[in-house]
């Protein structure tokens, strides 16, 4: 007699939000229904047991990030939710085109502000927003980069509103992290849930390293036949060290620290057992400030003295280029739709979230009047810090935000609360809806390639909208369906 297992989705209620697995969509070929049915067949208890085994795997493999609290450094895994998120082939075509368009606009914008400054001269963006930005680097003025590519690796944070429309929340044009989890989640999924994936025609995620390496080779100084690429990491105490290891491994290049490199006669060398070896492209996972103590922060021990000089002489390529932080600034973000029209003469494929710029009078007034309805964000922060979510804030928190806004209006933007989509997530109470976002990764050398899918980050706390790993977020495997056809039979 077959055992009757209660349907784990029986009590699942996504509420008013778009659900990534239960809202009806054309063109998923029955994939979402198949996943729900297969999870039903596995049953909640077995699902939990396998999920626990999967997380244990992550710990043993050291797929961790480091959280610093006071004097302690704790290795934590990015919690993994085993119920995948599915994007249809049609949805992915839109996302991919939209991400490529944005990356193109970001690169044209950076080239412009470090050269002719047309966008400022024509009054589309306030000059002080660009040139007064702490991430604007005068060292970059009139400095040529190959193919006009400044942002070689870009992570675009995208959310989905109640109707299922994609909206860009922010661009990450400096050193976006998280791509290692995309690949590792897929590996984990195929080890732990092969029955869930059987017969699914999914776009692979395994060739990120190969694409990244070819972009890094493309941007190497001209005339170098077989360029030596390295990944420059701050070292084992950096919270993203695992990712650095992952990327170096996937590219098959050395992971170096600042002390492994030195500059002589404006050329960069690495120290090996057999003496020095030339270096041509550096994928650096260090902030601009730490790259070269002779140019930026003199107290930085992480960088390489003379590196910027070698770079300016065209003897080494840096990815991303110095000075890209001015483009992913939250204040510049507000102007992105205008930038796309200006540089590409196209309508934005992906919309922005409506954004009020508090450095502008109307923006500030609107924000102060609607503080309890808006999300207020500092422009220069990442990791979800410093954010006030109006509808959920106490009156004390609102007053605190008001004071901060009045004190330095240009440090802030505000946006309406976006109803992030939800996805079924395994919790202590069973399968429940949790909010999530999506960060696709774009790699650009001569052209742009986008890794199918990206990192789906889930806010594991009920009702929470903060998906950042540093604040209790987890992640999901993100499936991009390869075509519009039907799902094959599970074997």
């Amino acid at each position: 007699m077959q055992q009757v297992v209660p349907d784990p989705f029986g009590s699942y209620r996504p509420g008013p939000y778009f659900c990534e697995l239960t809202t009806d969509r054309a063109g998923d070929g029955g994939a979402a229904a198949a996943v729900r049915a297969r999870i039903g067949a596995i049953g909640l208890d077995a699902l939990r047991a396998r999920a626990a085994a999967a997380e244990n795997d992550l710990i043993n493999l050291g797929i961790t990030f480091t959280v610093y609290s006071d004097a302690n450094a704790i290795d934590r895994i990015l919690p993994f939710d085993c119920i995948p998120r599915i994007l249809t082939a049609a949805e992915w075509r839109v996302l991919e085109a939209g991400v490529k368009q944005r990356v193109a606009a970001l690169n044209l914008f950076l080239h412009d502000i470090y050269h002719d400054r047309r966008i400022v001269k024509e009054g589309l963006i306030p000059g002080e927003l660009v040139f007064g930005n702490p991430n604007y680097r005068p060292e970059m003025e009139n400095f040529p980069v190959r193919f006009g590519t400044y942002v070689h690796i870009c992570g675009t944070d995208i959310v989905r509103d109640r109707e299922g429309h994609f909206l860009v929340l922010e661009d990450n044009a400096r050193t976006p992290s998280g791509v290692s989890y995309v690949v590792e989640n897929r590996h984990l999924m195929s080890r732990t849930f092969p029955d869930l994936m059987a017969g699914m025609r999914l776009r692979p995620v395994d060739d990120y390293g190969r694409n990244l390496l070819s972009a890094m080779a493309e941007i190497a100084p001209e005339g170098v036949d077989d360029p030596q690429v390295v990944l420059l990491s701050p070292g084992i105490y950096n919270s993203a060290y695992f990712e650095h290891v992952f990327l170096a491994r996937e590219m098959g290049v050395p992971l170096v620290e600042g002390a492994d490199l030195f500059v002589e006669h404006d050329k960069v060398w690495m120290r090996t057992t057999g003496g020095r070896q030339p270096v041509h492209t550096i994928y650096r996972r260090l902030g601009d400030d730490f790259l070269d103590p002779t140019v930026f922060r003199p107290d930085s021990l992480l960088g390489v003295p003379g590196l910027i000089g070698a770079w300016r002489r065209g003897n080494v390529a840096l990815a991303n280029a110095v000075g890209t932080g001015v483009a992913d600034d939250k204040a510049v973000y507000a102007y992105m739709p205008r930038l796309i029209r200006f540089y590409l003469d196209e309508d934005p494929i992906l919309s922005n979230v409506e954004t009020h710029i508090c450095r502008e009078k109307e923006g500030l007034a609107f924000t102060l009047d609607n503080l309890d309805k808006l999300v207020v964000k500092p422009v220069g922060e990442s990791g979800g810090y410093g954010i006030t979510i109006g509808p959920r804030a106490t009156s004390e928190e609102l007053e605190h935000a008001r004071a901060a806004l009045l004190d330095d209006p240009s440090n802030w933007i505000s946006q309406p609360v976006v109803s992030l989509s939800v996805a079924p997530t395994l919790t202590d109470d069973g399968i429940r809806p949790r909010h999530l976002d999506l960060r696709p990764y774009a790699v650009t050398g001569r052209t742009t390639w986008v890794l199918p899918g990206g990192l789906s980050r889930v806010a594991l706390k009920e009702g929470s909208l903060v998906v950042n790993s540093s604040q209790g977020g987890g992640s999901k495997d993100t499936w991009v369906l390869a075509d519009d056809g039907a799902v094959g039979e599970a074997r």
């Binding site: 043993n60 050291g62 992971l255 090996t272 057992t273």
Partner: protein, 335 residues
């Protein structure tokens, strides 16, 4: 596969030290095990103090301000993370080195070491009592042997492998001299004549067992073996994997490979040290060495090994940090 397999100097040093720290864990487990075997009823503390002496840890232990009881010494070596020669400290450093080496070593090497570190640094005082101590030592030895096996089966055999092996063999040679030295510090039971001779041989048998060499020794030793047979076996046997002579022979071979296969210059000074070490070991009969004082001789071998490690560091690791930091010493940490 066009690219030359270059190796960052920092990675070479990391491999060298990872191997040393892992090897040290196994040897500490062997030393603890043999010390427990030798505990004489009523005089346990003295047996355990010998362990402090052979590791030259008198000062470090005194700083703890504890009475030198058996329990205090066990804690010092098996639980005390602040003691740089303890098992948890060695595991911590092995793991830290492994972490810097993650781009290079196999995933299986990393995850085994990561889990081994976690399990062995979570043990508590209760694991040191009664029969559990011996089981703990067995687990430590097995953990290291698992690491060795995984490394043998998965680690890429480029020059990194040679640096790893150099670290392992230098540490192993050093630890064998310490294991031998333990007899020097041990108490000879009261009495004399035949009873004394038998008691001594029992202790030497214990040393051999701790080195996992008892079976091999019985194959090559005469039936009525003497203590100099044991010493000779552990110092000079050409086939026993923990004998100092075989370690030195392997060191020479690995250095030679670095030069012949990987074109690394700068092995000359290290090879000269190896010559001296071999001369000291093989140049004189063991009886003569023992007549001059075994303890003194072992001290000299330990010093030579430190100098050898220093030459390797100067030749291959020096380039990535200032020479001013000086030659490598036994307790040096990397990173």
């Amino acid at each position: 596969m066009g690219r030359d397999l270059t190796l960052l100097a920092r990675y070479a040093e990391g491999l060298f030290w990872m191997a040393r720290y892992v090897e040290r864990v196994e040897n500490m487990a062997r030393l603890v095990d043999v010390t427990q075997t030798f505990e004489s009823p009523g005089r346990e503390a003295e047996s355990w103090l010998a362990l402090i002496r052979i590791n030259a840890d008198e000062k470090g232990f005194a700083k703890r301000g504890q009475a030198p009881t058996a329990d205090a010494v066990k804690r010092f070596y098996l639980l005390d993370r602040d003691n740089p020669t303890s098992v948890p400290a060695s595991l911590e450093l092995a793991r830290t080195n492994a972490r810097t080496l993650r781009p290079l070593i196999s995933t299986e090497m990393w995850s085994q070491l990561n889990a081994f570190h976690r399990d062995m640094t979570n043990i508590d005082e209760s694991a040191l009592h009664g029969d559990r101590l011996s089981r703990l030592c067995a687990r430590l030895k097995e953990g290291v042997q698992t690491h060795t096996g995984i490394t043998e089966g998965t680690f890429f055999r480029d020059q990194g492998w040679l640096f790893y092996q150099l670290g392992r063999q230098i540490e192993r040679a050093d630890q064998t001299t310490r294991l031998l030295d333990i007899r020097y510090h041990l108490l000879v039971p009261a009495g004399g004549g035949e009873a004394l001779r038998v008691a001594e041989l029992t202790q030497w048998g214990g040393v051999l067992r701790a080195a996992a060499g008892y079976h091999a020794f019985r194959r090559v030793a005469p039936a009525g073996f003497t203590r100099s047979d044991v010493v000779s076996f552990l110092l000079t046997d050409p086939h026993f994997p923990r004998s100092v002579a075989l370690c030195v022979e392997k060191i020479e071979w690995f250095l030679g490979r670095l030069r012949s296969r990987w074109g690394l210059r700068g092995t000359v000074a290290a090879l000269e040290r190896v010559e001296e070490l071999r001369g000291g070991l093989m140049g004189r009969p063991v009886d003569a060495i023992m007549a001059d004082g075994l303890h003194h001789f072992l001290d000299g071998v330990q010093r030579d090994l430190i100098l050898l490690a220093g030459e390797i560091g100067t030749a291959f690791f020096r380039d990535w940090r200032p020479l001013a930091e000086g030659a490598q010493t036994q307790g040096q940490t990397q990173g």
